[in-house]
């Protein structure tokens, strides 16, 4: 036997040992999460263990989705007790693997309903069943560099509308020799801005009519949103970029703002400590003066797997982590995860000035938008419709369609073909 074979067998034995040890101890619950969210949950587990000696909570950083898919597809093998899933991703798991998760009514999840906004619950339900408890929220706001804006003579009021945002972008380009754009957005690989703008205008890819899911993507609000994305791209105010490109561009001053979910606060603060004091937050641009300046992007929830040996204990941990204001405020302070728990809004930390943000009370600004957010129901077709829309959005921005209406009519046709749903 050569060394590498020995090593592989050794690793398998170790893996097995770990699995057996978690399985043997019913008094321990395991939680899966990712990056910042996992870091935050780790510290919550420690606090939980300090107050509940009978039970040990153990958070593991994991590439959640692929492992969850494999575990659920295998009928609930090697899964943790609690798993975090982004709200927009939840529905496809619930539809395809309904037996993989515990329905929470049996533990009295209904009594938690008033603690969170409606739009948070809508994404976690399938029919009358509730599968998850809401965690963080993603109120969309504009983060911007006050120093660069000052240099170009732009004020926060100038970017109260999307058209103003374009004008500000032109001023900014002029003041920086074309070096600095307003923002990067993932419009050639994703739908962040399109879906956020559509949400502002009360449009969404899918809707519901007579209890049936329908396609709404070619309705007026979505058409206007797509048009706006092209206007921004055509003006050169935004350029395409993904997660890491966005952070690099902001750090190097190639872009001066980001229109993103509130959870981006932690990423900006932790990645650019040298820019402390230069950043500000304002509400996202509206489509016209006095229009809606609120939308939601992302946010996660905690789910309990059906293979959990101790679902009641798991639910107890979920309640501890998500419904205690002091725990939620703790995660906000350390990791910038914005609680969707309503009672945290009156916490004094929410109205305290933030040093990194030049003493601005950013959480107040962010939370003010919560009540304006339009609920959007998630569907199991999200990923597929997303693929279709990204292709069409890119083609439209590159000028391959006569109008946004024509582009979205084509999108609706393709989504109909893919899903068998009707176009409303």
């Amino acid at each position: 036997m050569n060394t590498s074979t020995k090593r592989i067998i050794g690793a398998l034995l170790v893996c097995n040992g770990i699995l057996l040890s978690t399985a043997a101890n019913a008094e321990e619950i395991t939680i899966w999460s990712w990056d910042t969210a996992a870091e935050a949950l780790k510290s919550v587990s420690e606090q939980y263990n300090a107050t509940n000696p009978a039970l040990t909570a153990n958070t593991v950083t994991s590439q959640v989705y692929d492992q969850l898919t494999a575990g659920c597809a295998a009928g609930g093998v090697n899964l943790p007790d609690v798993v975090s899933i982004e709200n927009g991703e939840a529905e496809r798991y619930i539809q395809q693997f309904p037996d993989c998760f515990v329905e929470l009514s049996q533990f009295g999840v209904d009594e938690l309903k008033p603690l969170f906004s409606d739009y948070k619950w809508v994404e976690l339900q399938s029919g009358d069943n509730t599968y998850g408890v809401p965690w963080d929220a993603g109120q969309v706001v504009t983060f911007y560099r006050a120093d660069l804006f000052d240099k170009a003579g732009i004020t926060a009021d100038d970017i109260a509308t999307w058209d103003g945002y374009i004008e500000a972008g032109k001023k900014l380009a002029a003041a920086t020799n074309g070096e600095t754009r307003m923002a990067l957005s993932n419009y050639t690989s994703g739908l962040n801005w399109f879906s956020v703008m559509a949400q502002q205008l009360g449009c969404s890819v899918f809707g519901e009519k007579n209890g049936e899911t329908t396609i709404r993507v070619n309705q007026a609000g979505c058409v206007r949103a797509l048009d706006q994305v092209k206007k921004l791209a055509d003006a050169g105010v935004i350029a395409p970029g993904g997660w890491s490109e966005k952070l690099t561009a902001l750090k190097t001053g190639k872009t001066a703002s980001a229109v993103y979910g509130a959870w981006y606060e932690g990423s900006v603060r932790n990645n650019m400590p040298e820019l402390s004091g230069q950043w500000r937050v304002t509400k996202m641009p509206a489509f016209e003066e006095g229009g809606k300046r609120a939308a939601n992007l992302g946010g996660s929830a905690l789910f309990i797997t059906a293979s959990s040996k101790n679902p009641a204990a798991a639910y107890d941990f979920v309640k501890f982590a998500l419904t205690k204001p002091e725990i939620q405020i703790g995660m906000l302070k350390s990791h910038g995860l914005v609680p969707s728990l309503l009672s945290t809004q009156s916490d004094e930390y929410m109205s305290s000035p933030q040093e990194y943000w030049g003493g601005q009370t950013i959480w107040k600004t962010i939370l003010e938008t919560s009540s304006d957010i339009e609920p959007v129901r998630a569907t199991p077709y999200g990923a597929e419709a997303g693929d279709i829309l990204v292709a069409i959005q890119t083609a439209f921005v590159e000028g391959k369609y006569d109008s946004a209406q024509a582009a979205l009519d084509e999108a609706a046709k393709q989504i109909k073909n893919a899903t068998g749903l009707t176009v409303e």
Partner: protein
């Protein structure tokens, strides 16, 4: 032969057969049957044409098929032509330090695909990349390698060519070395030039080897996943999404297992069809 002896050989290959059955045969049959089910939600429903019918009306699938064929029809022939040139160069009697050149040309295949993709991503970065800086230095404006459709397709083609030309060149070199020397000597006596020799002796004799490379590259391209995923994420839009990536998206992102299986089998059938055509066009035996 006694009955006992008839069983013994099967007992020897049984471990392999059992592993093959469990890990390959059953999944192969299961996934094929899955392609005839509507797998949108549990419980899955039998529906003969749900997935297969969708294939030909799915604009996205057709777009990814087009991208894949663009690489098969443009990048693969270019790469193989380059590989032949490299192989002839490596085979030249005039070349010193053959081993070093041979290694240098073969080296890209030794690098893990993820590793080289990450390096290429840095080199071809739209804003800060070395390649664009180099182009600027000679007075050419920035190329949007990942930001524009044309740039992204070029980037994928360049990286595939970098990685696989050497591999094919070494296979073709082996083919070159198996051509009998006396044919060249005879033609020299007849007064054939180097170029005539290449055209009328080398190429016809290389036919079966080039055919092998062509079939391997075609199948490789049909399965192409790593480079577009890591370099361009299939974008912008779907301009560099391959059929293999689309199969993965449908199966494991959208949880459309039935449709994903149908795409997988469609890829297999295309591969079979293409290699049949290639065998017909080039013939499986050399004409020499």
């Amino acid at each position: 032969m006694s009955p006992k002896n008839r069983i013994t050989p099967y007992a020897f290959i049984a471990p392999y057969l059992i592993a093959f059955g469990c890990l390959w045969l059953i999944p192969i049959i299961y996934s094929f049957s899955m392609s005839f089910f509507n797998t949108r939600a549990r419980p899955w429903k039998f529906d003969m044409l749900h997935n297969w019918g969708r294939l030909f009306e799915d604009a996205l699938f057709l777009a990814t098929l087009k991208n894949t064929f663009l690489i098969i029809l443009v990048q693969v022939p270019f790469m193989l032509a380059l590989a032949v040139i490299f192989a002839v160069f490596l085979n030249s009697k005039l070349l010193f330090l053959k081993g070093i050149y041979r290694f240098a040309i073969f080296a890209p295949i030794v690098v893990a695909d993820a590793a080289y993709a990450v390096i290429f991503r840095l080199l071809f970065n739209d804003d800060f990349g070395f390649v664009n800086q180099l182009l600027n230095a000679v007075g050419i404006a920035d190329i949007a390698w990942t930001g524009s459709s044309a740039g992204a397709i070029a980037l994928i083609s360049i990286s595939l060519t970098w990685r696989w030309t050497g591999y094919n060149a070494v296979i073709i070199l082996a083919g070159l070395q198996s051509i009998p020397k006396d044919i060249y000597e005879a033609s020299e006596l007849d007064g054939a030039s180097r170029f005539t020799q290449f055209l009328y002796i080398t190429l016809p004799n290389l036919k079966p080897v080039i055919l092998l490379c062509l079939v391997l590259s075609t199948f490789g391209t049909l399965q192409l996943f790593t480079e577009p995923t890591l370099l361009t994420e299939g974008g912008p839009g779907v301009s560099t999404t391959t059929v293999a990536m689309y199969m993965y998206q449908q199966g494991f992102k959208s949880f459309n297992f039935g449709y994903g299986s149908a795409i997988a089998y469609f890829i297999v059938f295309i591969g079979l069809g293409l290699s049949l055509i290639q065998f017909k066009l080039l013939g499986s035996k050399s004409d020499a």
